[in-house]
Symmetry: C2
Subunit: 437 residues, 2 copies
């Protein structure tokens, strides 16, 4: 029979089991942290009506989208988790409790040009808090504490959550009569980390921003010092624009409360260059950087928005949220070999029977499992060496070989596969549990 | 602004949070049980090249598939988890350890005619054990013990895992010279649970099976008694066909070992009418029925197959596996209101601050979380009554109100939302943990 080549599409991550175990641990840690803060789970369809999904989209997004017909239906695959959330909240408004705190961890699809480390199918891990009509600013201060918990949980210490407020920048541009250009200027400033100061100035010039305005803007975003010093400078500039003043007040309050939420000083700071892309965010914005791995870019970003679902409903639904692009993050961390694994295998114990009497080995496995320990029985007829090689390749930490003698004497040898050490103990699930913990 | 109706496509499940919590608990129990037996996680792309995905498909499947072009690529959404597994094993053959035990829990897509309780996007929860060239029959006996563990874990006691062997039926048809018709006859017999005996006979007649052969077949599949009595009768029929004899031997061995794996007598039985669809399975087959809810049909099915990946590789890869269609199962159980919830909320505790001093409530929340308890702080400025209503609607079991007095005296009242009872204890995370457990 002619064979078809078993290939996976480029831009789609498919891991070997040992990598998948690491990936799942990261995913589970993020999920557990979101739940620890009381976020409710949500799981929306991957396919939506194109009309619904593209209500707001345009430009790049629309080009990248997977869109197709099925029967008479014009369908599309979700390209983020925010639009499905907006649809969901608008649709179920009457059934939800507000503030609605939800997390969603799921795959999204963007038909980008495939390149190393860029994915067409990737996991986003999102939380959002949606208010009904209003949402207190203190919610903006809780987000960094959740980001902090997650990256600590993932084993990182040296990371910085950068915080800014879009109103400050918007007000500033209004002040220098660049309000019409503000989206474009924000987009340029947002790239400073990536393209550098000189290129930012170059791009501002192309936009016909005048030299003294460029100088003013650059001076502004280079305001330095501690977070408190920056906040003080922002206030002392004497800018009289209302949006600006409002933004400074908000940022001040958020920073104060981020401290209250217990985020250590070294893990957050005011950064006036953070703008977060285009027109979505309207207040607080966040980006997160692993300081030893700046090349990863922001590993967790988000912000405050005025209205989640204006394309679907008249209801005012302000919100604040963050998102982790897990697939890309995993790819990079895995490449750098810096993922801290809790365990490298699924099975904690491999039981190898070398007897016709399978009753006792199976009974023991069942008892060990009932104590919450993942236990596998090697059931195939291979040489003992092959069975140990199997445990070795799967990095299963403990092996128990059970033959007729072990059954007769009710004693087994528990082999630690890392040290090679063997320990003789009773053939008893509880004793085995103690011995491996 | 004109609004777009925020609708979800028909045939796509989208749950409210309280239902999503139940769904996730079921999913997690299945996953944890699979891991408890040492199955490795796998997560393949939802989109594959149509050529790869449809290597084997035909007929109904091909009609139902979501297939579309993106650029020059002919793409399709996976319609099960078996074909992606076959591709994966063929592709990564050299990197895997055999027997390869993997689980995958993920969404699959079939553009079926939408009707109540039928889904176009649904979760499958699969495990398979794949051998390299051979796979011992004892693996077929482990599967029912995993099915047993899962449904016990899901809170069911009265269920039956029905076990048969395709070789018995195949051999039987060879014996009555109906080998060419055997696939068709199996398909008809498979429906006996659904359409009844008379309709089966009717359909066999339409197939031009002779009356005495029909009688022979019907007598056969109606062989009754205990599993052991059935096995004995199968042997005593004196059928001399090799396939048949081989099948009886295998079934006997599997039943013996299912007992060894600790599945209680009342939870499994030989059922000679189980055939499992078309041409995929070649040996042992399983179906699982909740006896008080027969209308659900089989809730977990599977079997042994000779060759997983023949469309991709010359390697012989025999396997055995089971699958749970979780979305439909959840829908039915939820409709019947018989899902046993471990907990009905994500948050275990809601802290309601009624003070300007947020430092203490936040500190307490952080400490409670560090003990593994999901804790939410109500951060919005509402009347106390509205805050309690929020806890009530979300079915959060405990509420702690913290005002200035509580902070001063370092005492809080822990309110049990179910009983209304209030308990005064120290404002201390550990004491709170003890009080709620």
């Amino acid at each position: 029979m002619p064979k078809i080549e078993p290939r996976t599409l480029s831009g789609f991550m498919e891991l070997l089991p040992n990598e998948q175990i690491l990936f799942n641990q990261m995913k589970e840690k993020i999920q557990k942290t979101y739940e620890r803060f009381g976020f409710l789970p949500l799981d929306t369809p991957i396919i939506e009506s194109a009309e619904v999904l593209l209500a707001k989209a345009g430009g790049e997004t629309e080009k990248q989208i997977y869109r197709f017909q099925k029967g008479d239906n014009d369908l599309a695959l979700r390209f983020d988790l925010t639009v499905p959330l907006a649809k969901y909240v608008a649709k179920n408004y009457g059934s939800l409790s507000f503030p609605f705190r939800r997390y969603q961890i799921g795959k999204v699809y963007r038909g980008e040009r495939a390149q190393k480390g860029r994915y067409r199918e990737f996991y986003q891990c999102d939380i959002d808090i949606i208010g009904d009509g209003e949402l207190d600013l203190i919610n903006d201060a809780e987000m960094p504490s959740i980001i902090y918990s997650i990256f600590k949980e993932l084993g990182f210490d040296d990371f910085t959550i950068k915080i800014n407020n879009r109103k400050i920048l918007n007000g500033l541009f209004e002040g220098v009569n660049q309000k019409d250009n503000s989206t474009e200027i924000l987009r340029i400033i947002d790239k400073i980390e990536k393209i550098g100061k000189e290129s930012v100035i170059e791009e501002l010039r192309k936009l016909s921003v005048e030299e003294d305005q460029i100088k003013f803007i650059m001076n502004f975003i280079e305001i330095d010092g501690t977070s408190d010093e920056k906040l003080e400078k922002l206030e002392s500039l004497g800018i009289n624009n209302e949006t600006y003043k409002n933004g400074v007040e908000e940022l001040k309050s958020v920073i104060k409360n981020v401290r209250l939420f217990g985020v250590p000083e070294e893990n957050f700071k005011v950064d006036l260059t953070i703008a977060r892309g285009l027109d979505y965010y309207t207040g607080t914005v966040y980006e997160t950087f692993l300081n030893n791995y700046r090349e990863l870019g922001s590993v967790c970003s988000g912000g405050r928005y005025e209205n989640l679902a204006e394309y679907y409903t008249d209801k005012s639904l302000p919100g604040v949220g963050i998102s982790i692009g897990l697939t890309r993050l995993f790819y990079k961390l895995n490449e750098l070999n810096i993922i801290k694994a809790d365990k490298k295998s699924i099975s904690d114990i491999l039981i190898i029977p070398i007897t016709e009497n399978l009753e006792e080995p199976i009974k023991l496995a069942t008892e060990i499992r009932s104590l919450g320990i993942n236990t596998e029985i090697y059931l195939n007829d291979k040489k003992l060496k092959a069975k140990f090689k199997y445990a070795d390749k799967l990095e299963i930490p403990y092996v128990i070989v059970i033959g007729d003698d072990e059954i007769k004497n009710h004693k087994i040898k528990l082999k630690d596969m890392k040290t090679g050490e063997e320990k003789e103990i009773n053939m008893d699930a509880k004793e085995i549990k103690i011995a491996i913990s």
